[in-house]
């Protein structure tokens, strides 16, 4: 299956600092249509598109938008650009190469759900992306496409860029709210969900950068056209980030349902003519898939069926020479270091998990280590309050599976 460039239609082709260039390449067509057709139409189209969130949780975007649109009082929108999942760089590419698309999408969101205040939470290390976004916001304001009166709609939408400062957990939406509010970036208990009580306690729409960027496509071309790619349950295209032992690392956009084999082929296959040991699909919070999964269609439902996840779209490739347990150890260390320490299962579980994986990587397993890892993993998945702890054991336990037990 070839690459389909929808989200990436302008990336690398249109000057990311030129509003005229953006408008000359279908930019702001969607906003004009959204203003003309109104919020109800946008919401129906979004529902019909079947767009699922691209940040990892795959929640139906239309349902989220409707919940916030139906809320009373002041509402807010937040673009989650805290992309910190190891092996993930698609949002960076979107923001650096097509920043006006992020701004246009958030503007449509503001008008549709009735929010005047928008915020992009961007990881502190993404300086170029932050600059490009700020520039795009400024140019959109100057052109009357953002600000007090958006495109003659008589409605206001404002967007500001807010920089994180190096904390993976702040990509969790409630930790993100605390971070913006000037508190430690520790997750809150849910419920209440952000659509009821989010940033500053207001109903808040939070979507990932890629999810937002899909919205102008749905609005401009319609849900039916959007659904021409993908499967019934996984509509549209998805950005995948190929890294590691692959010939041409990079971001590739393919219809959902493309197989892992086809995706790898697009990136030139495993490098140096070697064979595949495994891919880590979904980043540190994802799972390992062995070569027997090469013909698995990359959809939300197919990955779920094998206990995996598309997650953020990270696909880290390990060739036959890779030291699997060194990679697993790095992942275990990542979670131990990034655990905020607020809830016990995650704070202690990530520590113990790393200690055991360190033994396995050193070739010194103790009897019962595999069972202990499974027990710790179950405790973290069941009892951690946020996605960090809930996913911290996925890669480790899937490594046990593809390796057929402890090394």
């Amino acid at each position: 299956m070839p690459e389909v460039r929808r989200l990436l239609a302008r990336a690398g082709r249109v000057d990311p600092e030129s509003l005229a260039g953006y408008r000359g390449a279908n930019g702001y067509d969607a906003l004009a249509k959204a203003v003309e057709r109104g919020a109800g139409w946008v919401l129906s189209e979004l529902d019909a598109s079947g767009l699922l969130g691209r940040g990892g949780a795959a929640f139906p975007a239309g349902r989220k938008w409707r919940a916030v649109a139906a809320a009373r009082g002041r509402r807010r929108i937040v673009c989650n650009a805290d992309e910190s999942e190891p092996g993930t760089f698609k949002d960076r590419v979107l923001m650096e190469e097509d920043p006006f698309a992020v701004v246009e999408a958030m503007t449509i969101a503001g008008l549709t759900v009735g929010a005047e205040e928008g915020l992009v939470y961007i990881r502190g290390e993404y300086q170029l992306a932050a600059e490009r976004l700020r520039h795009a916001i400024e140019k959109a304001e100057e052109a009357g496409l953002l600000g007090a009166d958006v495109a003659g709609s008589g409605r206001a939408v404002r967007i500001r860029v807010f920089r994180g400062a190096g904390a993976y957990v702040c990509g969790e939406e409630t930790a993100l709210f605390n971070s913006v509010e000037g508190r430690r970036g520790e997750p809150r208990n849910k419920p209440p969900f952000p659509t009821e009580a989010g940033l500053f306690g207001d109903p808040t729409l939070v979507n990932n950068v890629e999810t937002f960027c899909a919205v102008p496509l749905v609005v401009r071309d319609g849900a039916a056209e959007f659904r021409r790619c993908g499967t019934d349950q996984s509509a549209g295209t998805k950005l995948f980030c190929l890294s590691g032992h692959v010939a041409r690392p990079g971001v590739y956009e393919v219809p959902l349902g493309t197989t892992l084999r086809e995706l790898l082929a697009l990136a030139g296959g495993v490098w140096q003519g070697r064979s595949l040991k495994a891919v880590l699909c979904g980043g540190a919070a994802g799972t390992f898939l062995g070569p027997e999964r090469l013909d698995l269609p990359l959809t939300f439902e197919d990955l779920r069926a094998v206990g995996g996840t598309i997650g953020s779209g990270a696909v880290i490739v390990l060739d036959e020479t890779a030291a699997l347990w060194d990679v697993v150890l790095r992942v275990a260390r990542f979670f131990q270091e990034e655990s905020c320490g607020q809830c016990v299962p995650c704070r202690v579980g990530t520590q113990r998990q790393r200690e055991i994986v360190a033994r396995l990587a050193a070739g010194q397993p103790r009897p019962g280590d595999a069972a202990l890892l499974r027990e710790i993993g179950a405790a973290m998945t069941d009892a951690s309050i946020c996605g960090l702890g809930q996913t911290a054991s996925g890669a480790v336990l899937s490594a046990l599976e593809i390796a057929g037990g402890v090394p």
Partner: protein
């Protein structure tokens, strides 16, 4: 601007100026949600967050000092001790390690001494107690995996990083 309730001790003039400059950029009295942007500003001016400056900031924001300290200590990009020159951050996460970061880290350790913050196991324990000639540290994924291995010197990215490239950037940033 509220008056200082507890004049903090040992605030260097330079630190006081950095706090005042950051606050002056706000167009209203500081709110709690200004805290992280203010910390970014102060860190950018001073290269770190001195305790005295944080005490002063807490007073000016009418926040309890532990709240400000709790936020400042939460984030990896903030330093709480004075740096020795420009920050050198080298990615040691999975995608970079699969594409040459291991040998880059070894070369950096040979040239500069052990990393300031490093708990890596896979390629040996850093020599305990050996002082680093040049300060550097490893960091998790920088989101540049398509250009691995990567490093950041004084916040500027170096794709397909080499020890020579990092050393040159460090020398010129420190000059």
């Amino acid at each position: 601007m509220p008056t200082e309730r507890n004049p903090p001790h040992a605030v260097a003039d330079e630190e006081r100026a950095a706090v005042d400059r950051a606050l002056a950029r706000l167009d209203a009295d500081p709110r709690r949600s200004d805290l992280l942007p203010l910390l970014h500003e102060i860190h950018a001016s001073l290269g770190w967050l001195p305790k005295g400056a944080l005490e002063l900031l807490a007073d000016k924001m009418r926040l309890p000092f532990p709240d400000v300290w709790g936020v400042a200590t939460f984030y990896a990009l903030f330093r709480l001790d004075p740096p020795r020159g420009a920050a050198v951050h080298v990615c040691d996460d999975v995608p970079c390690r699969l594409r040459g970061a291991d040998s880059l880290l070894q070369a950096l350790e040979a040239r500069y001494g052990p990393a300031r913050r490093f708990t890596g196991e896979a390629h040996g324990t850093p020599a305990a107690g050996r002082a680093a000639a040049v300060e550097w540290e490893t960091v998790p994924c920088l989101g540049q995996c398509d250009h691995a291995p990567v490093a950041a010197v004084a916040g500027r990215l170096h794709r397909h990083a080499t020890v020579e490239g990092i050393a040159a950037a460090k020398a010129s940033a420190d000059a």
